[in-house]
Subunit: 428 residues, 2 copies
């Protein structure tokens, strides 16, 4: 049987895993697709560099175009990362009639629509399961498993770095800076951690998930983003004391025909299944009108988990190739994109205020909430351990983002409030 | 666009859900498959019976053959249940060139291989996502999401009735009989609960999951089964005290090329993600060589969750129909079936003994474990609250099933042991 030939762009962590799985599981893979699968050519930055996986040097090239323009190659696996140059490579690969498997969330979040349109034009497959939540088959689940349902809400812990940091802060009471440093030493955080800790990586993944879940073309700019770098160990201690875990949550909500997508540190009730997702693990909670609550849990990153998803996509491409149906099953987002206004985005909120420790303060503060129609679930006033101030801890009932902002704006002008210490979304 | 015509066998709980979803989500469904989907004909036991969903009486028939032999119908959805007669219906439907979606775990566990072989012969699709774990797309995940990986272990809470009973017993300290009665009143348990509480329903689902996960033709008879009807509230209290929750777990283990599949009440460590799956929810934990630990959680039964899976399968069939590739993607189990011998099935165990309260007893008992090479993780002896006996609570390290059986057999002849009160598998 004629082997299917694969070209690999990139031989870093995930690329190495792909080579390992394709070679190590060859018998299983060929039993499923009916012919051998061969990684024919690999584009790398340096052909001389020592590799942790054995590859015949004659298969390596320093020039991605050697792979993209090789007429022998059927499928391109892109695990090199990058956006603009990589997009040019993949558009040309599609132009050349090659099918694509990519793990590139940045590319798919920023230019997914353009790449998928080109793929449809050329009747090619573009699969990208590994771009979100590593080894968890969440993209397949949204496209196929829930094809029959209407998704109301997707909540995800989709960034392992920040979940590792928050888990450590929660379990050890350590500070953000300490844990970030440790994560960097362990290789769980980049030397420049901005994209992870400021929520951008999670936002890209949420744009991809919301596009699939809501069947509408959600873009990165539609996602409001807050990161975790300002979270103090005091905040986490408050959360735990009140029965919550602090998580960086991506939340995509549908309200009728309108969507709201955000990423922010969120206090998640310890009873919610997302609260016990710890360390570098990822999980995506999906609530459908018919199916109800579901959750999908697994490794969000790492060589072999991510490569599992890449190679599963490769198997799907090769099956389609054998049947001659590549590019024919893809569904373009068909729903209009309407974003929910801030008047209609509702959530519960946690607010920690430092205030003057004198009579009448609490009355003034609760009056502000009442004025803007925000009702309160609990209010605690206590002396501050470290200052002459008092602390007021408030959890609101569900309130609109617009009204909450009005309350906070008003607080700025309230003399008795020394500091708005923390504000977090609350879920569960 | 010519509509795709569906014939429905059965209009009970799941059938009603299917009608609701196909009609309620028609716009979404037809956007995905490119033509309307119509439930054309429905076979029911009584055409006169009042229904909670509105259906044109002219679409109802009392005779399933009317549906199966209707040349207009493209796809048969079987949600009537039953085994032998239903098998005859479906084999004839395939003979007639119709594709099949079924929610019937009994049928698939007992005759899946025969039905899938006939489907392959006739180039028809047979999809059965709803047969295991209701709304959780676990069958898709095993076939497609993990096509690239080699599964080591599948552990599932796949029976909602027993999980409801065990959760209630754990949370309320209630007895098995009390909770079963309550579950029957709430409709969570059948009036004859045998199939659920004796583990047979779970065993059928595990045979299906193991066949897919291990790519080998696992049959119901390969699954060893113990139910929950003998579990006392005392057992559950012991489990909780030691940091475990009692769950009816299906466990499919692969050891090299050998498989072991069982269903039994198991003490699951409270740290394990399966321990917090409560009530009628289901969850399947899958451990793959490359992907590592994953878990999939959701509603295991109910009208709309189960119908979500049925209609997602219908969408897949219709997409294949449009592409002319029905029946071509199916993979027959291609691995030989080798079952692990009892010498090589290992697990930790909990044993509760009632013994004479006198000197030297513990020495005699631990001597038996030593003799058969079973090492102990913990041993506690304490007075029995209700008897003059003492209680000995033992947790073993991982031991072979064969050696554990030898220990228990030997205990029968040991005079100081008044009763082997409980023995449970321990996980996590």
């Amino acid at each position: 049987m004629k082997p299917v030939k694969v070209g690999l762009l990139g031989l870093g962590t995930v690329g190495t895993g792909v080579v390992r799985i394709v070679e190590g599981n060859q018998e299983d893979l060929s039993s499923q697709v009916g012919s051998p699968i061969v990684v024919e050519k690999i584009a790398v930055k340096s052909v001389e560099k020592a590799r942790s996986v054995e590859v015949d040097p004659s298969r390596l090239t320093g020039d991605p175009w050697d792979v993209i323009n090789d007429p022998e190659i059927d499928v391109i696996i892109e695990v090199m990362g990058g956006v603009e140059q990589t997009k040019a490579y993949l558009l040309q690969a599609l132009e050349n009639g090659k099918h694509i498997v990519t793990a590139n969330k940045d590319l798919m979040a920023l230019h997914g629509a353009e790449i998928l349109a080109k793929a449809q034009e050329k009747q090619c497959d573009v699969f990208y399961e590994a771009s979100v939540a590593g080894g968890i088959p969440i993209i397949r689940t949204l496209i196929e498993g829930f094809s029959s349902d209407r998704i109301i809400r997707i909540m995800g812990i989709v960034n392992g770095t920040t979940n590792y940091i928050l888990t450590k802060m929660s379990q050890e009471g350590a500070s953000y800076d300490e844990v970030l440093k440790e994560a960097q030493e362990l290789g769980y955080a980049e030397s420049d951690p901005t994209s992870d800790v400021e929520g951008l990586d999670a936002a890209r993944k949420m744009a991809i998930l919301a596009t699939l879940g809501f069947r509408s073309n959600v873009e990165l700019g539609d996602v409001s983003v807050k990161g975790i770098s300002h979270i103090s160990s005091e905040d986490i201690a408050f959360a735990k004391k009140l029965g919550y875990e602090m998580k960086l949550l991506g939340i995509a909500d549908r309200n009728g025909d309108q969507f709201n997508i955000s990423v922010q540190p969120t206090m998640v009730s310890q009873n919610h299944p997302l609260a016990s997702v710890n360390g570098v693990f990822n999980a995506v909670y999906v609530h459908g009108e018919a199916v109800g609550e579901t959750m999908f849990y697994g490794a969000g990153a790492g060589e072999l988990p991510t490569a599992t998803s890449v190679v599963a996509d490769l198997v799907a491409v090769v099956k389609n190739l054998k049947l001659g149906v590549n590019g024919l099953k893809a569904i373009s987002p068909y729903k209009p994109k309407l974003l929910t206004s801030e008047e209609e985005v509702f959530s519960k909120n946690f607010i920690l205020l430092h205030v003057d420790d004198k009579a009448g303060v609490l009355a003034q503060i609760t009056q502000v909430f009442a004025e803007f129609g925000v009702s309160l679930a609990s209010v605690v006033q206590q002396p501050n351990e470290h200052n002459p101030d008092a602390e007021i801890i408030i959890i609101t009932h569900s309130a609109s983002k617009a009204n909450m902002q009005k309350v906070l704006d008003h607080f700025e002008s309230l003399e008795v409030i020394r500091k708005i210490k923390s504000v977090y979304r609350v879920e569960g």
